[in-house]
Symmetry: D2
Subunit: 476 residues, 4 copies
């Protein structure tokens, strides 16, 4: 028998979306394509671009990777001087183009497209209210709520309607909207997900991460602030702060794993450097005598380098990452148990044999992959295997736009570190401390969300929301 | 305007093929699929599997990557207890399934399939002779000559015909053949390309590199020797040495770049370790004061680690390799000149700014990519950029199964090292010496082919062949 | 140069849609597929099926022919005991799956699917009103108005909401709706388009024409009456007459051309017999001495047979209809002017040479095809060509669900019969009289719409609607 | 459960191929496409075109209908001033592009393409001989033998090699070959299959039937004679008669059923007229009192018209042929027994009820379809059903390029007419007599093959061939 094995790492949190927008460039869709290409790591299941020429919207969407969806003829069917785009990492449904963003609608007063990174915790409640008024939803996406709120708003200008709508949603949103006149981009008052502003000569760009600017040779201007809304049109860029102030709560996990190491986020803070700092701090907190430090590639590389430097232990690449890993893998029956991870990673016995090995990864979610990696390293001859994780134990799901398992599946939510160590069969296991992580992140520790490590959610839930989000499981 | 940009590195030599075979396993095609998956780096344009059940052959071929060609239903249409497979990196024609191997024919005396890694230098001459006898060729592949030689042989047994045929061809061949009775595998007398034997319980396996065995949890048995031919059938494995003895001339470039770092080739020699040794030797030969050593990822990593260790300079990852690079890239007009390399690699300014940087790569072919990399590193703020190459200057093409540019396009064939340094805009440039390279490779230096570095071809050419292979260009 | 030629006859009116529904059969989707197959002539551009199992809806849609869209796996993904389906002949946009019916929505109170044959003349007006209330339209189809009217209705039960919605629309509708509980089917008060009820053992069926029942071996029960609405669920079939009474105005053109000749419509009236009667009447009104009567196959066959019998002239098939005519045809440059019609029809010189020929067709819209046919017949050697049309001159467009050219393009709207005769180069031309046509149709002449022949529209237009429908063209 | 039902009538003989060629036209491939379109009825499974510009060959092949395979870009990739094409109706293998013609090879002395209509009875014997000489066959097609015979011929010129090859094969061949210099077309000495010459201004055309000329507005010149070989190149058209003379034996079944009714074959004899004559003769031989004569459409139409005229009985169309019948049909489980035929044909009760019906078809092979048709007519209310077949009973298979069932499956090979009548449940059944058929065909009766009606094969078999062709089944 043969079955299909998904290869999107089941043992990681995953960012759900990338957002990109550009205004004032005759190749707006081409730039958006490049931006989405650079932001592919934030969503690999589907992608869409909507361009506009002031009169009309043009749209192309597809399932799969950016490079496969947008070919020559697709891009040439997207004229106009402005565009927004979106990559999606989908949790469920999946194969349904209806859920692929940007969402587009045609109102009485013109066209509107929306690209959203984040998650709205009161989406279900709002949806029920809107449906009672006759609204017909086309998708199961929480983002569609924003569009119906705009359509049902009684505010007189379009901008006022957008502000009206965004004021009613609670949760995480980094959004880009496109109208016939220009772009609007906004970040929720807590600033949970990143969103930054760039400039390419006379064009304005917004993107989830700066790596999108690098590919375009565009300049990084600044982060959109938490609670800020910007309007970009032929008058230039205009900044608003229309929402009630709130404490910033930027996702610290972006530093740990989500963002590309070559990006800067939250105000020009280089991710690579922070990751190395996490590793150095980890070495300080939980040094262990060893012959070599190896990363779980690629995400573990900067922290492993930091650990090696900080700990004075030799850095090696004892696991080789296969270049050709796709989204899925056909798994024949005869395969061994550890197949999944073998397809992605292979051990190098010459490096590992007879060594005391420290293996560094960024995070540990279910523990299943780590267990396989430890076994693979040991099978390659390692004498000792010490696992070091450059973030604290994850004990609670994220409700702000990250695809996470349920609380029950998070191994650290119900097991001690010693129990986890036994499960993954390591000789020792250490996580970075919460304080250690926050110390390595720039600025005040209070400005970051760390709810998945601490269960301290920056946005409170109503009882209805708690039930809906599955926070409290029915007592059986 | 939009154009398509191929992303298979134009500035590297490329292996042209991977070969895999298995006998005596009820999931023969599944194992072959896995083997080809692990050998993807030796050929990304097309792939094929032929399985057999003793009575019939079953075949599936396609253009593209292994993971995309073989889905559930494709694999389920390949029953039988034996199979051979092939990955192809094509030079020209390309889109033509006729050239995709394994080649299959139906003779009077049964079915035959052939998978070939290497290149036959007398293929054209033999083809003309065979055609004069009425042979009809279906493809433009040199490998088809072997099949017609078998068909036209007057030898009485099938094995004798194969030996007859392989005795007539000159050049590089690591081949796997499948008949209704079993497999035959052979390596040319010089042993130019690798081919090794593995075992999975009671099944025999042959594969170009050992990384294919690792994925299957199969055991590595030994390399097939230069000039050896093995027969695998229900009687087990039988070894022959039917060809006149010749001096071994195994491709040294497999160590430098072609093979996967986690493979062992030419008698269990670990590629990763040899690459690090090349880097250490390079540091010894051409050390330069610097703040950091960075690799051109991923192929440059082991040598860079070796250089860093040997040179006592800090290792960093100042270039980030994009995970989602495919075979081609749609390039919009507005793009900057260095687009190609930017899609694959991005610099990390935090690592590079104000640093004296040694950047290590495995080889340098045309120089175009290195030039772009140096500029990218400098643009990220590096104070000095010193390029170190862990192999000698390439001055001549390969005719033994490697896709190489013409002599003219090899920058080192007509430029001094100083001229190349200027072209790539580096502050300094050094290659590893020939002696240094051969010293880092295990065993006697004389057992390796190094013709592309020295122009000393282990197989002599007739005048006709020289002309055909374009060795001597017409005087203009 | 090569161009694409559409082969859907440009010289005919075209039915825009087929509707089918079934309740209470474990193979509901399979039956719907068969029904849509039999109703293919009412729409060839796209097709969709929605099935339901009481809990969930399942949907499959595609562009193209029924036989191409629904394969094994598509049908197997449509479980449930009820289903509705739709074939579409599209006028514009075309390639957009969003306009393909059945339309499906998810309300607060459950799922709803809609399949509509007909056209609503106040759709634009209603759409603007609904959008002012915040409704967001997903398609450009007039049918979507019905769905939003249901969603915005304040009536308390679902049935009351449907009645509320259908009471607000004016125009032609034969609709099938599916909810989680069962089907609703309705015909507008004028009964413009057909819709009939059938029964297959314990299952109820609705279909545009009875030929769908024949293929299923289902029994014909009766036509749904003008203004009737039926509800089908586990309580059986329930009939309502919720709309204000109106004079019946059933489309007479269904008899002339739209319906399949083997269907019965409007109360068990066999189309084939009526078409022959039209031909017999035509012979009586405009007999001409001739050697043979030939049809424009296939639609002209019954009337030609009637004419031949009535006129005592020998029937022959002098034009052969190609079996393999698809929706489009690639037309190379060198082709002659009359290419389009040649691909569909070829003349048989043996039949036509030296003959006085009466050629009978059902209707004449633009005259372009008739002109080509006359020339083709003459080229094959005919001495005289007399064209006879088994319906009156078409002088005005249809606004009730038929795809028609603008008034200007209707040759008879601005040309005398003699002028048309000259244009089509016939020796004589005669149309059936209005009285002749109505006499051949069963029952009272007043119960039929004949607006396209008389400009007497059974539903009056407001000024806004007139403008919108392009009834009055702007004076230039 | 759902299964796929093939809709190519299982109760008919089927022509296996169409051949087309053109020389001297700048749109050679376009003309070939049009010709193959017009010849679609001779092969619906696959099609191919090879064009040439004197230097190079260009090729496109595909599975399916002509209209689906050749789109704009496919046609534009076929430059050159000459081309040959082929439609194929395949018996077995099917999905394999290798068997799709034209076959193309590259010899030492240039390119060759071959399109073959017919069947070679000594193909297996020749294949074994050729394989013994080292020939490698790529397909299972008998036509490939011709190519290897040409390649192995020792004759000095290319034309001499072709003649050498065609002199060795026995059986039916109407072939078109293309070389770098021009076309060669030939018909076997018996002239079993048709092949005619046309002219479009300065270009020469060859085609299986004249309907291909009509679509091109080309002129019919003449039939290629039995045993004639023509060469077309820049010197014009040259005729040869290189084969030993043989008695003509042209397939009479082409008149009965295979050819399109609007074609002329075997020297300008109009098929339509002959079919009517067959029907008139049938009325004379086996008149029966009846109210109406109906055809099994479309192939039965001309004979039915002839029968009605000759018999003085009214012609009606009591069976309606569905316009949208494809190659296959998805058949859901619940379907009734007679599903297959219902998808293609529907009865019109208004025509048939209470009538004594004569139903005319061209031929009767297995009887299964006729049985269903009789039942369908009776179910529609007919009082009596009299079946009349416009050809004699088929008692033996065809070995000359027609797809026929085995002898055992031919109902008339082992059943009396009365037994067949009972099986098909008709009130009476009559076939046309052999003499009646031959009398209706133009010219001498001895010039036609009628082996399937008489078992008198015009080409004798060796014992080996008899076994191979399954003429004598193994006694069990
Ligand atoms: N699946 C793989 N996993 C890890 N390394 C690989 C894999 N395939 C190839 N390699 C190694 O990667 C190198 C090529 O990768 P890289 O440097 O990223 O690209 P380039 O071909 O442009 O140099 C080769 O040395 C090869 O040995
Ligand atoms: N295009 C990219 N180039 C380089 N690094 C990337 C890219 N995309 C994502 N990353 C980084 O790679 C990490 C994920 O890669 P990896 O560890 O190989 O897989 P996994 O998701 O299984 O951990 C993330 O930290 C991300 O920041
Ligand atoms: N393109 C065509 N146009 C008209 N008649 C055709 C065409 N192709 C084939 N025919 C004729 O139609 C007959 C086959 O059609 P039909 O009777 O409908 O199907 P069947 O193959 O089931 O008998 C043949 O006699 C053939 O001569
Ligand atoms: N499946 C079918 N079988 C038989 N007749 C059909 C079928 N579908 C449509 N028709 C009839 O055929 C006519 C249209 O066919 P035809 O005259 O060949 O093409 P055109 O649309 O160009 O007039 C219509 O009258 C319709 O009633
Ligand atoms: S809960 Fe965790 S992953 Fe989610 S936003 Fe907060 S820190 Fe980031
Ligand atoms: S020429 Fe170079 S690449 Fe070719 S086999 Fe020899 S060493 Fe290897
Ligand atoms: S206008 Fe003509 S086509 Fe339209 S419904 Fe009335 S009769 Fe029918
Ligand atoms: S056997 Fe019958 S079908 Fe075959 S060639 Fe002779 S007459 Fe034609
Ligand atoms: Mg990782
Ligand atoms: Mg590299
Ligand atoms: Mg018609
Ligand atoms: Mg027929």
């Amino acid at each position: 028998m043969i079955k299909e094995l998904p290869l999107i790492s089941p043992d990681k949190f995953h960012d759900e979306c990338a957002v990109f927008g550009v205004y004032g460039h005759e190749e707006a869709a081409n730039l958006t394509y490049l931006g989405l290409y650079a932001l592919q790591h934030r969503g690999q299941e589907a992608s869409g671009i909507v361009s506009g020429d002031g009169d009309q919207f043009f749209v192309q969407k597809g399932m799969g990777l950016v490079a496969d969806i947008y070919n020559k003829s697709v891009l040439e069917s997207l004229p106009g001087y402005m565009a927004i785009g979106h990559n999606r990492y989908s949790t469920a449904g999946g194969q349904d183009l209806k859920n692929v963003q940007p969402l587009i609608v045609n109102f009485a007063f013109g066209n509107l497209a929306l690209a959203h990174n984040g998650n709205l915790i009161n989406a279900q409640v709002l949806r029920h209210e809107l449906e009672a008024y006759g609204a017909i939803f086309q998708s199961t996406s929480d983002s569609e709520v924003i569009i119906h709120l705009i359509a049902h708003s009684r505010a007189s200008t379009f901008l006022a309607r957008v502000i009206d709508a965004l004021s009613q949603v609670r949760g995480a949103f980094s959004v880009a909207l496109m109208t016939d006149n220009g772009l609007i981009a906004a970040r929720d008052p807590h600033g949970l997900r990143p969103l930054c502003i760039g400039r390419l000569r006379s064009s304005w760009i917004v993107a989830s991460e700066t790596c999108a600017f690098d590919l375009l040779d565009a300049e990084y201007v600044r982060e959109i602030e938490p609670g800020e809304l910007i309007v970009i049109n032929d008058q230039g860029l205009e900044s608003h702060h229309p929402f009630p102030q709130a404490d910033p709560a930027m996702c610290v996990f972006e530093y740990v794993y989500f963002a590309r190491p070559d990006s800067r986020i939250y105000g020009a803070n280089a991710v690579y450097g922070i990751r190395k700092a996490l590793g150095r701090q980890l070495a300080q907190e939980s040094w262990v005598p060893a012959d070599i430090v190896i990363p779980v590639p690629d995400s573990g590389v900067p922290a492993a380098l930091g650990y090696a430097e900080g700990g004075g232990i030799r850095f090696e690449t004892g696991l080789i990452r296969n270049h050709y890993v796709g989204r899925t893998f056909i798994e024949p029956e005869q395969s061994i148990r550890h197949f999944g991870v073998k397809v992605k990673l292979n051990a190098v016995p010459e490096v590992l044999a007879d060594k005391r090995v420290v293996v560094v990864d960024d995070s540990l979610v279910r523990g299943t992959t780590s267990r396989k990696i430890v076994k693979m390293i040991r099978q390659a001859g390692a004498k000792e295997v010490h696992v070091r994780i450059s973030s604290p134990p994850i004990i609670s799901p994220c409700f702000y736009g990250i695809d996470t398992p349920t609380k029950k599946e998070l191994i650290a939510s119900s097991h001690s570190i010693e129990e986890i160590r036994k499960y993954i069969t390591a000789d020792s296991l250490a996580y970075l401390s919460l304080e250690g992580m926050l110390k390595s992140a720039p600025g005040s520790p209070t400005q970051y969300c760390n709810a998945c490590f601490t269960e301290k959610y920056p946005i409170s839930f109503t009882r209805a929301e708690e039930l809906q989000l599955g926070l409290f499981e029915p007592s059986a």
